[in-house]
Symmetry: C2
Subunit: 317 residues, 2 copies
């Protein structure tokens, strides 16, 4: 490891080539081009061992999850992910670990056609930081701040399974048959890049639900200076959360993080078109509430009873 | 710290605004524009506590150094730094520490007009990862791989002081009067962004000397498939290295890392113009050797005696 960095040895050969990457790994910096009609969106997320994943996990899954966590931020902007750089801090040089990690990274990046353009390896406590770049037609990046009173609130998929997986890691008993599906939700989340063009066309605001629906919807509402009402029975709770948490399942869906679905809003008059477009490409999303002029979150139950909802979710500190 | 991330609270208000930042901190990603005649260069560097700095340092210096380490990679590409994102892993939430850290970050970024466009804070062992972006006229990014036999080798400043500072931290006795200057070389290195237009005009290859001259020149030579001869007496050794290391000072200059000067090559016929241009803007660089067709590094002493030089420097693992 004298002449070349670990990045060169373990990652360079497999890095996807893209026409917009002038050069990637192996110099002091990578060089890329951005088409004149596009804007660039950029996001960074770190995953720290024993905080965001366990160091005992298959390194393939650690890498895979690190990519998905970052891709999800690009999906929330309605952009297309294109390049990523990797800062990898490792306690020791372990060829087997690195080989497996690089496989997971590669497989995850390949799915979206993302090129690994560079990185840095350092010695220290296991931490993975990715900086991801995405392209979006100029002016089309979707922000948190565009929601208006009366807008419909949607969520892109079922919630609560990743939080249930965390409970399982903390000792909750789960049938052996359900464990693979559950751990997949935590370790290999899907991200909603497939919604990009739909969001660009219809949505007024969007956010990645990584810290939990209520916490992240609240972020969106604060940014948009609005409030929200959620219809309790419309929240799509994952079947495993229902099976193992019964009446508490709704809390997992409202406050559990790590699902990496998107929450978005759109003007009510575009709702029919949204549904038609989703059907056309075979995707489904869930209408869960409505944006209110009055600030704060509330839930409405089947009897029409309205109660305030305290935004709770993953707190970094 | 529920509604807003640490990044929002400590860093957003001071982030420089730039016309090319459509929006920065506070959404799932930042959004920026790249002029059609420019290419984007991107680099990531992590600084890990007790590896790249001491956690006992003034957080101002930790942030300052983190910026310079990253800016130096952009300088080596002959590019102009523009945006940075910060991934900050902290063992605890310490307002005083964060306030001081954000001051150092801000002051360092201000010098170059760099906007902080986003980031992530996580709990864990103290680590700072910056991803820096720079702009360069299309086709003008300077690589390591362009050196040709016969090219002159230059270095942008005196070497060895940062390595001497590391020796001081390990117990080497240094006069109190020299300590501030010495620690400044380690904690607040200058970076050579001021050479960007000169490098674009004259240089054939460049590299940031962060791992030590011999190690990094070797990287440049390997990338260019050439070798190099260095003139021993031409290596600019910092006066403090000479004062405290006497005959060993040259080793500090050849193998000590963390100086963040640049090493670059240029065709011999451009040398006179280079010197004229440097004089014009009041900068000096040092001619230290020549690119050879034969691979490997060598040093030539005043008697013309040539001996092989083993590339040595900072090793990450």
């Amino acid at each position: 490891m004298n002449e070349f960095s670990l990045i060169d040895v373990f990652f360079k050969s497999k890095a996807l080539s893209r026409n917009d990457v002038v050069f990637g790994i192996g110099d002091d910096a990578a060089c890329v081009t951005v088409p004149p009609d596009k804007q660039l969106v950029i996001s960074t997320d770190s995953l720290v061992a024993e905080v965001h994943f366990l160091s005992s996990w298959d390194p393939y899954d650690i890498a895979y999850k690190a990519v998905m966590v970052n891709v999800s931020d690009i999906a929330a902007m309605a952009a297309e992910p294109c390049w990523v750089s990797l800062a990898l801090t490792l306690p020791e040089l372990n060829n087997l670990w690195l080989t497996r990690f690089s496989q997971g990274l590669d497989d995850a990046l390949q799915q979206f056609g993302i090129a690994l353009i560079g990185g840095d390896t350092t010695r220290g406590p296991l931490t993975i930081t990715l900086t991801i770049h995405g392209l979006v037609p100029a002016g089309k990046a979707l922000r948190r701040s565009g929601a208006k009173p009366g807008d419909k609130i949607y969520v892109s998929g079922e919630l609560g399974a990743a939080a249930l997986a965390v409970s399982y890691l903390h000792g909750l008993v789960i049938d052996e048959a359900d464990q693979p599906e559950l751990m997949n939700k935590l370790q290999r989340p899907r991200t909603r890049v497939d919604l990009a063009s739909i969001l660009q066309t219809y949505a007024s605001a969007a956010i990645d639900i990584s810290d939990g629906l209520s916490a992240d919807l609240n972020h969106l509402c604060v940014a948009s200076q609005v409030g929200a009402s959620l219809f309790m029975s419309a929240i799509p709770v994952h079947s495993l959360a229902k099976k193992y948490q019964q009446t508490k399942a709704i809390d997992f869906a409202l406050t559990g993080g790590d699902d990496y679905e998107l929450c978005f809003t759109l003007p009510a008059e575009k709702e029919a078109q949204l549904i038609a477009s989703l059907n056309e490409i075979g995707l489904s999303c869930y209408a869960i509430g409505v944006v209110e002029a009055e600030k704060g979150l509330a839930v409405v139950n089947d009897d029409g009873k309205r109660s305030p909802l305290e935004p709770r979710g993953y707190s970094h500190f």
